[in-house]
Amino acid sequence: MGLNSALVGRVYRSPDTYEVGREKIREFRAAVGATEGDDAPPTFPIVLAMKAQEAAVLDPDLGFDFSRVIHRDQSFRHTRPVRSGDVLTVEVHVTRVETLGANDLVALRSDIRTAGGEDVCTATTTLITWADTP
């Protein structure tokens, strides 16, 4: 029932594309207090990335206790901002699976591209479970 480090290198492709809507960007901008400009804020890709990452973190092969997970690290590298009308795909790579003491750590890299194959953003997420208190 432990964490399965053999999953490092596994790739999960989102079965569907994500079409970025103008009102979705506005909703996200309002939620992070952004008032200027029209592009999606720098952290917007987490909306797609998190959705796509579910396939990995909930994969029974991985053995990760998702009910006790906190977000430890996050990074974004943007080739360009996400814009309304973009049709995007996400490819999630498992880059690290490790047990640190009583905590399980999983790192995922989400490559976000347009349906046409143009790079838009790479988001890297590290999740960790906690034993008792974080």
Binding site: V32, A34, P134
Partner: protein, 151 residues
């Protein structure tokens, strides 16, 4: 060196105020209430109950309902984009979530974001180191952004 930076017009390149290493960027204060957590949950699709349900948070050993780490990171990004103006683009942005931001019911809690220009990497790329404080404690660690200006 510590002149606050106003948003710049679309044609400007790196400005004197944001383009010099050591420049302190003006503090931004955000109030976070439970309503803000619900708004972010809806906008992001992250409905983990630790961000709105006291009992779930408590049962998991958390000190209370906590903000999404990505909300804190998103607010700090807003400070960055406001410092550099709408023409600038954030090319890189990273952080570690050092401490949970506990959001009590009612008036909520205040998040204070400040920044310092760490390096000018080349003509149009500026690296900023960010500090995010809640109750005087750092909630983000190693938070930095690389901003491309003058496009």
């Amino acid at each position: 060196m510590t002149t606050p930076t106003a948003p710049r017009p679309a044609t400007s390149s790196a400005t004197a105020a944001t383009g010099t290493p050591g420049t302190e960027l003006p503090e931004r204060r955000f109030t976070l209430t439970r309503a803000d957590l619900v708004r972010y949950a809806g906008a992001s699709g992250d409905f983990n109950p630790i961000h709105y349900d006291e009992r779930v948070a408590g049962a998991l050993g958390l000190p209370g309902v906590i903000a999404h780490g990505m909300l804190t990171m998103g607010l700090a990004a807003t400070a960055v984009t406001d410092w550099f103006g709408p023409a600038a683009q954030v090319a890189e942005y990273e952080t570690r979530f050092a401490r949970p931001v506990v959001v009590p019911p009612g008036e909520g809690v205040e998040l204070v974001v400040s920044g310092r220009v760490d390096a000018v990497l080349d003509g149009a790329r500026t690296r900023v180191v960010l500090t995010a404080l809640c109750g005087g404690e750092r909630v983000l660690a190693r938070a930095r952004a690389v901003v491309v200006t003058g496009r």
